[in-house]
Amino acid sequence: MQRALPELIWSGFGVLVMLLQPFVRSRQFFTFIALLGSLAGTAAAFTALVHSGPGFSGLIQSDAFSFFFRLLVGTVSFLVVLAAGPYLDREKLPVAEFYALLFFATAGMGVLASAQELLTGFIGLEMSSISSYVLAGYRRDSLKSSESAMKYFLLGSFATAFFLYGIALVYGATGTTQLSKMAEADAAASGTLLKLGLGMILIGLGFKVAAAPFQVWTPDVYEGAPTPVTALFSAGPKAAAFALLLRIFATVPAATQYWFWAFWVLAVLTMFAGNLGALVQTNIKRLLAYSSIAHAGYILVAFAAVTSMAQGGAGEAAPAYAAVLFYLLSYALVKLGAFTIVSQLGGIGEKNLSLDDYAGLSQRQPFVAAMLSVYLLSLLGLPVTAGFFGKFYIFKAAVNSHLISLAVLMAINSVIGAYYYLRVIVVMYMREPSAEAAALPPVAFPLGVNAVLLLTFVGTILFGVYPNPVINFILRPNLLGH
């Protein structure tokens, strides 16, 4: 039971918040409970690591890999709670339901990351997705929010249906849904049915991580959802879905042998779709959403390297896994920080979301502008930020697998990406604020929000200069429990 402790704690706290909601009036109480719960779950991840091994008769696997992701989603949910408080107060939204949904989503992400069996993965996927659908529509009075929830729900259910159908086909082909049993299965036993099943699973999970051509929902949903929820979306579910994808495609021999080209094409399409789409955006949330698509593309480059390397045996792909994990960590930190700033600066009703509202921010609020610049530069891949090491490790994995053309395409996309990240920096630093904006008092950044910014900033710079602890951890040989 200790092997699933984090998810149990998170679900438990979610239920607790739901039960207490009719009886307790104080918003601070729920915020406190939420912080406590996310921290407790994150701490429980350590317990789960100590007791590593299969749990619930092989349905989940607690190992270093799932520890990393539990830590990641736990930290993400902790930071989202901190960041969401002021937003919820400003928009006068109920807090208890928000935290409950957040807990369930986090628990779902934890299950996704530790799933060793496809139907368990489906449960995790649905837990996190359904909570996400409701969270996307949390601002009930906003048309955009309801639209984003509706879009996410409809498209997400469709994608989950693909996922489920894929599981059924895989079961039909291999006779099992356990990843470990499939790993032992003969690679030659895979036929068209298995390939089709795995392809559908890829479609279902590809939707979740915003891979092209399944990325169309991302800009609209990210734009419409309340900004702290967007912060959660960009960091948490993406990481968890990548975790499951990595587990499947790295451990099942039938998967690795045949899906290299699929990932290659997906990576190229996603990178270009994200970067080219972002070039023309004027709404900062949409710009960051398209950049999320582009970064999913970079991670898919690492997946192409994983499948290419794993053809020589599962152990060979360790540097490529390391690239994916490190990139997800640096990316999650940075996106959280960036969306937190966007949520604070958005104002009541999220009015101030266009790039013009950021003009001259460096003169009105220099500290905030500097933070946002650091996050954008990390997304760009400037040295001394964690994003640079992330890109570097992915380049290294790609070049190691002799995917030179893919590496060059990723390089080209990095430069395209630089253009729109620089555009935001240029607007903040090199344009004068409009007269009305300059007359307004600076936006308040309460303690919780500042804590989020501080943690993400320190994390970005720290891992940009000294990534050793993370790298040493990720490169251990028994990462996936075997």
């Binding site: 540097p319 003169q363 530069l377 400037l382 040295p383 001394v384 640079f388 570097f392 380049f395 290294k396 070049v399 190691n400 030179i404 590496a407 060059v408 390089a411 080209i412 990095s414 430069v415 630089a418 253009y419 620089l422 555009r423 240029v426 630093y429 090199m430 344009r431 990534p467 050793n468 790298i471 040493n472 490169l475």
Partner: protein, 541 residues
């Protein structure tokens, strides 16, 4: 943890400490901010003078090395080292920074604190590039200095500053991302990021695979450096960046940042990929010669004075690239000398143009005319600097250009003949523009009452003039110290010749291409023409 001395680390990070201190200050105490910035940059220059004392003359290989383990996987280390070439480039940087601070004393009035912070961070990045011996560290500093420069252009520049800044960043970044792929590929082949180790492996006979691989790697590095130099046809970012940058930005850009490209060619392209360098040499020389002549011709027709000086940079640095790819020791020493001389004289030209802008807020030559009447001292300095830029003997430009042409002539006389055209053309555009700006009648009313050079400006210009003259007369001071380093580059790019050179002397030819060579210079100079030819031996000085 950190093995070796500390001077190089201090040189890299002291301006960062200064920048940090500046950030703590209040933003409106401009005088104090400028004084602190000046003090920090002058102190940095004094520290760098210590390099002259510590670095041994005539010893090949890297000196004052510092080493610390940094990242376990892949193995990346904090490895610094200096040799004759990088020492003088560091000195150039630390010399030009206080000059830039002084030049911006009164022209920068808004966001003064951020300006000097950016300038100091730029110095950190550039000095770091020159001193890095680990390729990853090199790339880190290379990318790091993009952002301060972009801010310097984009915030404190002129009308089209944002366009110029973004163009600068994207252009340079495109090249350097390709270089990153090249670095990782090279790491794949050699298993290390450490430059000295790779050079050792190369000397020990480790082949880089097929010639095609070597050529692709060479190009990956070369394109990034060619963008920076800038080499025709990748030069189009330069005129915009220069014209729109503030004076200090232009001085640093022309004086120092452009040398990063040529330094990279000497440090990476030639030693690591000698075969590919040989095969590409004629094309590179062609581009260099086109750059020399094209840059000079475009300068000739420029109505904008600053753009004229910018294109003259393209022309002068074409000489440097030609000198490097002529693969002759003399021309390589000339290339290094020209790098330093161009930094000083073009830096001074930009300072002077900036002083004109401070008075009239325009760069158009037609707005000037007859300025030697109200501003005789400024005109005198301008003439002095223009003459040094076009290569008048006894001034620094002559030494560099002459050595380049001499060395190039000995290998490919045709290249030298074409390049010499550039010398003539530079005289044309410099003298003609000088005549239009300073001589003749005063055509615009406002020009009659312009103030002459102030005390601060005179100090700046006098310093630059003294250095120019000193470099022109006392060139052995520099060539003596760069001879060993350029000879090492020569040996690495032509290992076969050095191999043969050692054989007749009857001794076993050791791994000559390795920077930490143990063969003394004396033994080699007793043999054939591939000997390290020092400039003194030719009896030039």
């Amino acid at each position: 943890m950190l093995h070796g001395g500390h001077l190089l680390s201090v040189l890299i990070f002291f301006p960062a400490v200064g920048a940090l201190a500046l950030m703590m200050l209040r933003g409106d105490d401009h005088k104090f901010i400028r004084s602190i910035a000046m003090a920090v940059s002058v102190a940095e220059f004094i520290f760098s003078l210590w390099l002259l004392h510590d670095v041994q003359i005539g010893a090949s290989g890297y000196q004052l090395e510092e080493f610390a383990k940094w990242i376990p996987a892949p193995p990346i280390h904090y490895h610094l080292g200096v040799d004759g070439i990088s020492m003088f480039l560091v000195l150039l940087t630390t010399f030009l920074t206080p000059i830039s601070v002084l030049a911006s004393w009164s022209s920068i009035q808004k966001r003064v604190k951020e300006f000097f912070v950016m300038l100091l961070m730029l110095e950190v990045g550039v000095v770091g590039v020159f001193l890095s011996l680990d390729m990853f560290l090199f790339f880190l500093f290379w990318e790091l200095m993009l952002i301060p420069m972009a801010f310097l252009i984009g915030i404190w520049g002129h009308e089209r500053r944002v366009y110029a800044a973004v163009k600068f960043v994207l252009y340079t970044m495109a090249g350097s991302i390709l270089m990153l792929v090249g670095i990782i590929w090279l790491y794949n082949t050699t298993g290390t990021f450490d430059l000295a180790t790779i050079q050792q492996q190369l000397a020990d006979g480790l082949l880089l695979g097929q010639p095609r691989t070597e050529m692709l790697l060479f190009l990956a590095f070369f394109v990034a450096f060619a963008i920076k130099v800038p080499l025709f046809p990748l030069h189009t970012w330069l005129p915009d960046a220069h014209v729109e940058a503030p004076t200090a930005g232009s001085v640093m850009l022309a004086g120092v940042l452009l040398k990063l490209g040529t330094y990279g060619m000497m440090r990476f392209c030639l030693p690591l990929f000698p075969e590919a360098a040989h095969r590409a040499a004629r094309w590179v020389a062609l581009l260099a010669i086109i750059g020399i002549i094209y840059g000079a011709l475009v300068s000739l027709v420029q109505p904008n004075l600053k753009k004229l000086v910018a294109y003259s940079s393209v022309s002068h640095l074409g000489f440097v690239v030609l000198g490097i790819f002529a693969f002759h020791n003399i021309s390589m020493q000339g290339a290094v000398y020209q790098m330093l001389a161009h930094g000083i004289s073009t830096g001074a030209l930009f300072l002077l143009v900036g002083m004109l802008y401070d008075r009239r807020h325009t760069f158009e030559i037609s707005e000037f005319g007859g300025l030697s009447t109200p501003m005789p001292k400024l005109a005198a300095f301008f003439l002095f600097v223009a003459l040094s830029s076009l290569g008048l003997p006894m001034l620094n430009g002559f030494v560099g250009e002459f050595l380049i042409l001499l060395g190039t002539y000995q290998r490919h006389w045709g290249w030298a003949a074409w390049a010499a055209l550039g010398v003539i053309l530079s005289a044309c555009y410099l003298l003609w523009s000088y005549q239009r700006v300073f001589f003749g009648e005063i055509t615009v009313e406002k020009n009659k009452t312009l103030p002459d050079a102030s005390v601060r400006e005179k100090w700046i210009l006098a310093t630059m003039a003294v250095v120019t003259l000193w470099m022109g007369i006392n060139s052995p001071f520099i060539t003596k110290r760069t001879a060993a380093a350029t000879q090492t580059v020569m040996d690495q790019v032509e290992p076969q010749r050095a191999y043969e050179a050692a054989a007749p002397a009857g001794e076993k030819p050791r791994a000559k291409g390795v920077p930490v060579s143990t063969i003394s210079q004396q033994k080699i100079s007793s043999s054939s023409a591939a000997a390290p030819v020092s400039v003194e031996r030719l009896g030039i000085h």
